[in-house]
Amino acid sequence: MQTKNTLEIKNLTKSYKDFSLQDLNLTLPSGCIMGLVGENGAGKSTVIKLILDMIRRDAGSILILGQDNREHPEILREDLGIVLDDTGFSGCLTPKQINHIMKNSFRNWDENYFRGFLKKLSVPDNKQFKEFSKGMKMKLFIAVAMSHHPKFLILDEATNGLDPLVRDEITDLFSEFTRDETHSVLISSHIVSDLEKICDYIAFLHKGRLMLCEEKDMLKEKYCIVHCRPDQIQKFPQHAIKGKRITEYNAEILTERSLVPTGLSISPVGIEELFVFMAKEET
């Protein structure tokens, strides 16, 4: 059964002693890539672990491919490709052995695809996992995540540790993956440029709160940076200022294009800039 949305999160809450994820609402339509952006400790990994039911939610609901994530997760995971930053294979295993393990774990495991993937990413077949560099480990995780032909890829900091060339190659693979309209990707990363390149939707998390979640193109269309003198800030209504950077002689204001007073120079805003401005304003 094909669902309209791959992921639907409603009123998701999780509290710890020193951190809480508050009332998160997020929807990822099928066929799209969503980037989860946030500083360290913003709650990106918490969201992903809640989606995978690796930690228990306090409140809210999570639907993956139209199904509650807590109902038969082992069956649901046949359709998920998952890469988490802080997990590992046993150090003694080689990719060849991992292939055998996964062949006996996933119903749709595609051995040839896996081997081809390893070859493409230059991952040695007979080397032990513990001897791999961080980048090599990540490539192997990505190969495993994609070789059972999942419908939904969930990637937590999956491009970390990879050199720019491989990152480019991998992000292309993710884009290619979503050419099939039933496929979707949720990816969290510190490297916002990667997300900017491939994502259709961007979700900003800051201190456990979702600041915004919109289509990337819409964000770029909606927001801009206004360059002016510091004394010109007063021209802006307070609610229009989403973020600002002020020096003695210059001011840069992040605002909606529709709210820019006439006569001021504007420039387009990148996703990274947008996040930094907004997060700083909140702080």
Binding site: M54, T87, G88, F89, I101, S105, F106
Partner: protein
């Protein structure tokens, strides 16, 4: 669950190689040795295998990774218990064969003697697993070391109570009476072990299902 068992098999061949070598050497000596150490020591080493593997799983973050695979928490736990059962049965089968040969060569086959020996081996093989694994699945391998100590103290205390305490004389007599009837003793104790093992398995599954992987 085949994938999980295969992964454990690869790990045994790599990380438990020393155990396998020692066990194999002891197996070779079994038909020639009357000393109980040749029977009980392989059992003790066998018992340590699933505990060791679970420790490696945690250390290498496989425990966390396995949450992303199409296995239920019950299957992840069951893989360790099944592995334990398989290694115990294999070990006891080889020991039985060795003892069978020894008895035939030395004093003639004695079923009761063999049953008592096998039962002692079984006891040593399952006690560490059935008591320690639930603690490992709940608290993690590091904190479960406390369970080892509690287990050792409890067993030591029980022996001390039976052999030293004045009040224990009656109990000791009762135990000795049962021991004099090895078939009855084996049957009662075997039933007890099976029940406790199943309870341990169920507890581990419940505890692991509630575990969070932060």
């Amino acid at each position: 669950m085949k994938g999980l068992l295969l992964k454990d098999f690869y790990m045994i061949m790599k990380y438990c190689r020393i155990y396998l070598i020692v066990i194999s050497i002891l197996w070779i000596f079994t038909p020639f040795a009357e000393e109980v150490i040749f029977i009980l020591y392989p059992c003790l080493l066998t018992a340590m295998i699933p505990i060791n593997l679970q420790m490696y799983d945690e250390k290498e973050r496989w425990s966390c990774y396995s949450c992303t695979l199409p296995y239920s928490s019950g299957q992840i736990v069951s893989a360790k218990y099944l592995l334990n059962l398989f290694t115990i049965l294999l070990n006891l089968a080889i020991i039985s064969l060795g003892q069978f040969i020894r008895m035939l060569c030395v004093s003639g086959f004695n079923l009761e003697e063999l049953l008592v020996l096998l039962f002692s081996g079984l006891l040593i093989s399952v006690i560490p697993t059935m008591f320690v694994l639930p603690f490992i699945f709940k608290f993690g391998a590091e904190k479960a070391q406390l369970a080892y100590m509690i287990l050792a103290i409890t067993i030591g205390g029980a022996f001390a109570w039976i052999t030293i305490a004045e009040d224990g004389i009656e109990t000791e007599t009762a135990i000795l009476e049962v021991l004099q009837n090895p078939t009855l003793f084996t049957a009662i104790a075997l039933a007890g072990i099976v029940i406790i093992y199943i309870i341990s398995w169920q507890i581990s599954m419940k505890l692991y299902a509630r575990k969070e992987f932060d």
